[in-house]
């Protein structure tokens, strides 16, 4: 034993330079059995703050040292329960509550279909619980340990068997404990010293750390700034998905064709689908047998004949019958379309007092000499009443005087519906009380219902 004590003394001498404090004694044993025997003697001597260090879990050491059963299994059980609950709640919330999936008429929530994920998450959570729980209970990670400063102790992870008694144990005594450990027949006893030097991070590192932290915030600040700043440049798209595709758009150049035009003209003698407008009565309001003789430029507003005189629209061969089945549905449609497109200028009754007209006239009255608004003619006035339905249709199609063409906004069928409704407005606008059936005349005089 004397050699062991000398060794430990020389070990102690090495470390006293910094007035190291004695932190405990470490005794090395030759094999696991000797260690176990010694461990039980240390336990019986009443030490609490002691531990054995072995390269592998030695069978029976727990009993020898009196280690109590760990509570790790309960931690893992709690994690498993948490994982299972999370999984069930997640599946219920996502598929049965927040976004209900209808899959082959199956119930939104049914346990069997949710078992696999529940099982997997329970295992996942408890695996983390087992590893992290073990580390936490063992106070790991702990990168500094004074035992690492003892050279022979490094064998504890290959083939060394050690018992360490710490100085903070109430029964610890500087010489008695050393004697006691020597009595256990170790290969050697080493004093473990806590170097009394305050290891501190060099001060120069502090400003550096601050600089790095500030620089680390720069990207975040830039991102935050860009998120609140309006920008006129297109957004950066890392992945275009299918937003930009190689294809010819209107008015684009193309190398594929000899003329360089991306848009292709119609092939001679062909008509595009839906462009065949053979039925002139329906599409133009002109009588089919005489339509060929009509110069189509005459149909436009303010058209002039080649000799400079104005075209008399009334003389053209207009149809006199609406080329659609006339019924209440068409009338209702006409009323609806009229109220949307026409009433703004012409007024709901056709009098020419729409809100735009009213506003325009107010502005012109306030600023004499400014503005070119023409008061629309009342639709139930004599000249309009005399017009054939074909001419009315043509007016909507091409416009007249200041009125623009509505062909782009109103489809052909709707134009005819409006023409039909116009006829109804003309009837109501130019008639008198005698045109109203006797049995409902009373309603006209009644007070409007609130």
């Amino acid at each position: 034993m004397s050699t062991a004590v000398e060794q430990s003394d020389s070990q102690a001498d090495d470390c006293t330079e910094d007035q190291a404090v004695l932190a405990g004694y470490v005794a090395q044993f030759p094999n696991p059995s000797a260690l176990k025997k010694a461990a039980s003697q240390v336990r019986d001597a009443g030490f609490k703050e002691f531990d054995c260090y072995v390269p592998f879990p030695v069978h029976g050491i727990d009993e020898a040292m009196g280690i109590k059963m760990t509570r790790l299994p309960y931690i893992v059980l709690a994690c498993a329960a948490m994982g299972a609950t999370t999984a069930i709640a997640l599946q219920f919330f996502t598929n049965a509550f927040d976004y209900k999936y209808i899959i082959s008429g199956k119930p939104f929530f049914s346990l069997p279909a949710n078992i696999p994920i529940t099982f997997e998450l329970a295992v996942l959570f408890s695996a983390f619980g087992a590893l992290l729980g073990m580390l936490a209970l063992n106070n790991l990670p702990k990168f500094y340990n004074r035992l690492f400063l003892i050279d022979p102790f490094l064998k504890a992870t290959s083939n060394g068997f050690f018992i360490a008694i710490e100085a903070k144990d109430p029964k610890f005594h500087e010489t008695d404990t050393k004697e006691f450990l020597n009595s256990l027949q170790p290969s050697e006893v080493i004093a473990c010293l806590e170097p009394n030097q305050n290891v501190k991070i060099p001060k120069a590192l502090l400003p550096l750390a601050v600089c790095i932290m500030i620089l680390g915030l720069v990207p975040l600040v830039i991102v935050a700034r860009m998120r609140v700043t309006p920008s006129t440049t297109p957004r950066i798209e890392l992945v275009h998905d299918m937003d930009y595709q190689p294809k010819l758009k209107t008015q684009r150049f193309s190398k594929m064709f000899a003329d360089g035009r991306g848009m292709r003209p119609l092939i001679a003698g062909t008509v595009a689908r839906g462009d065949l407008r053979h039925d002139t009565a329906f599409y133009e309001g002109l009588l089919p047998d005489q339509a060929d003789e009509v110069d189509r430029s005459f149909l436009l507003p303010n058209a002039k004949k080649p000799d400079g005189t104005s075209v008399s629209l009334e003389t053209l061969p207009w149809v006199t019958q609406i080329p659609l089945p006339v019924d209440e549905k068409l009338m209702a449609r006409g009323q609806e379309r009229y109220n949307i497109y026409c009433s703004l200028c012409h007024g709901l009754s056709g009098k020419g007092d729409g809100i735009i007209t009213q506003r325009a006239m107010q502005l012109q009255a306030a600023n004499p000499g400014v503005g070119t608004w023409l008061l629309p003619i009342a639709l139930y006035s004599e000249p309009v009443r005399k017009q054939k339905v074909g001419q009315l249709f043509n007016t909507i199609t091409h416009g007249v005087r200041k009125m623009p063409s509505y062909a782009a906004q109103i489809p052909v069928e709707d134009r005819w519906a409006i023409v039909l409704y116009l006829r109804a407005l003309q009837e109501s606008g130019s008639g008198n009380i005698n045109d109203v059936p006797a049995e409902i005349r009373e309603q006209l005089n009644a007070e409007p219902k609130p």
């Binding site: 030759p30 094999n31 696991p32 059995s33 461990a39 531990d51 260090y53 390269p55 592998f56 879990p57 030695v58 069978h59 050491i61 727990d62 040292m65 280690i67 760990t70 790790l72 299994p73 893992v76 997640l90 599946q91 996502t94 598929n95 927040d98 976004y99 899959i103 279909a113 949710n114 696999p116 994920i117 997997e120 998450l121 295992v123 996942l124 695996a127 983390f128 087992a130 590893l131 729980g133 073990m134 580390l135 209970l137 063992n138 790991l140 990670p141 702990k142 990168f143 500094y144 340990n145 035992l147 690492f148 064998k155 504890a156 992870t157 290959s158 083939n159 890392l238 992945v239 998905d241």
Partner: protein
């Protein structure tokens, strides 16, 4: 410290009443440590040439994989042979192949641990590492198979501006969770097992870089008996958790097929059949890796012929299960009386993919039968050859299941014949590059054998008491 003196003898002979030692040769705790640390501690210039040759070759294959993935991302999934009606082509075949291989590691570390099979200690670390690398390869293929890789996170239930959630009644989503959980738990299990051995590396390290790196990785492990107590408990719990997990993962992978209504897929035998096949292929891959690795790392005393023989026996057993499943599928197709099912199976064996089917049967059912003969189980080069055939056969099994069923679906007008493209081939080969590169790096930088566990099953050196009991 005295060492155990064992006269060289045949560890594969079963002597009634005695147990063959798990570690052969004149080894004690110190020499076991030295041997396991050998390759990892060698200075770079003394590493065997064979290692460099193997690593270079694997890195070339890995670079090839990287290029293929680059081509895939820029050109789209059209670079593969996946075409109507076979939309699940090689990427899914490769996925199932690799994830199957990834089952042996956890099986060895968890199930054999629970069964107290002490021989697992020699091979479990390498097998777990192999598991993780196989799962990396497996995870790669469905990842790139989704086409729009940049929205891969749609696989997970994350709140999003579309106010959509994934469909939790689909086996494909179960698969995401199962493979994700399996990969995570395998890594945790592997890492936890390595902590004490990393501490050994740390304490033996001589260069500051090694001291720092292994110091960080070993988390300050001291070998305290109180820590070991909790550690062992945690290991047991993880094993108990991983054992059902390993069975669940390939079960869920098989649901990807079995829940579909395609003839040839829609069978209840799939879960057990897939799990048996996974263990079969996993053990074949472990043996393929360990036969050269035990020589490269000088571990013949720790990974003994007896270990290889035990693995051969498991391969023989699981190979028979797989063969039984093949036969049972045919029987049920006939017995079930469903004409579509019958057509699917006759088509497998005698249709346009007959060559794949019979490659599968001869590799998976016939080649393991050699392991009935003791010489075949105890001759490493022969085991390696059989294992390569088993791996080929298991790849073809997944090919047969996926492609033969898909190419003959319900509408004869849409039937087709799957042709792989060069990119398909290069990706499959490249995935082996990834796998072997990771394994070679593992051999060089991490403890290849669980030293602490091997030591705990070694007989105690000469003392007055018997160990343990």
């Amino acid at each position: 410290m005295a060492s155990i003196t064992t006269t060289p003898f045949d560890v594969t002979v079963e002597t009634p009443g005695t147990r063959a030692p798990l570690v052969t040769g004149n080894n004690d705790y110190q020499t076991v440590t030295d041997k396991v640390c050998h390759l990892a501690e060698k200075p770079t210039h003394t590493i065997p040439k064979a290692y460099w040759v193997a690593l270079t070759l694997c890195l070339v294959l890995l670079a090839n994989l990287g290029i293929c993935i680059g081509i895939l991302f820029t050109q789209g999934v059209g670079v593969w042979g996946n075409m109507s009606p076979v939309f699940w082509g090689w990427p899914i075949v490769n996925f199932v192949f690799w994830v199957g291989i990834g089952h042996a590691g956890t099986l060895i570390s968890a199930i054999l641990f629970l069964f107290r099979q002490n021989w697992r200690t020699g091979i479990n670390r390498a097998a777990e590492a192999m598991t993780i690398f196989a799962v990396v390869c497996a995870g790669l293929f469905p990842g790139i198979h989704i086409g729009r890789i940049w929205v891969f996170f749609w696989l997970f239930p994350l709140p999003n501006s579309m106010l959509l959630w994934p469909q939790f009644r689909s086996p494909l989503l179960w698969d995401v969770f199962a493979v994700g959980t399996y990969a995570t738990v395998s890594i945790l299990f592997w890492y936890m097992g390595m902590i004490p051995d990393l501490a050994t590396f740390r304490d033996r390290a001589v260069t500051p870089i090694r001291q720092f790196a292994y110091g960080i990785l070993s988390l300050g492990w001291t070998g305290s008996a109180r820590c070991w107590h909790r550690y062992e408990r945690a290991y047991l719990l993880l094993a108990a958790l991983a054992a059902p997990l390993v069975l669940s993962v390939h079960t869920i992978v098989s649901f990807d097929f079995a829940v579909a209504q395609l003839p040839g897929w829609h069978t209840t035998i799939f879960p057990p059949y897939f799990v048996a096949g996974a263990v079969f292929s996993g053990f074949a891959m472990v043996a393929t890796l360990l036969i050269p690795a035990r020589i490269l790392c000088g571990l013949q005393d720790i990974i003994t012929i007896r270990h290889l023989e035990s693995m051969c026996k498991i391969m023989l057993a699981t190979g028979l299960m797989v063969g039984y499943a093949y036969a049972m599928e045919f029987f049920i197709a006939w017995y079930g009386g469903n004409p579509y099912e019958q057509f699917a199976f006759v088509n497998r064996a005698f249709g346009p993919y007959w060559w794949a089917y019979w490659t599968m049967v001869s590799c998976n059912v016939i080649s393991p039968q050699f392991f009935w003969i003791k010489w075949c189980r105890t001759t490493p080069w022969f085991i390696a050859i059989v294992c390569v055939f088993i791996n080929i056969g298991m790849w073809f099994e997944r090919f047969v299941i996926t492609v033969s069923s898909l190419s003959r679906d319900f509408l004869p007008s849409s039937w087709g014949y799957f042709k792989p493209t060069p990119i398909d081939w290069l990706m499959l080969i490249g995935s082996f590059g990834l796998f072997f590169t990771l394994f070679l790096l593992f051999c060089r930088f991490l403890p290849v054998v669980a030293m602490a566990e091997v030591k705990s099953v070694m007989p105690e050196p000469d003392t007055d008491e018997a160990h343990g009991e």
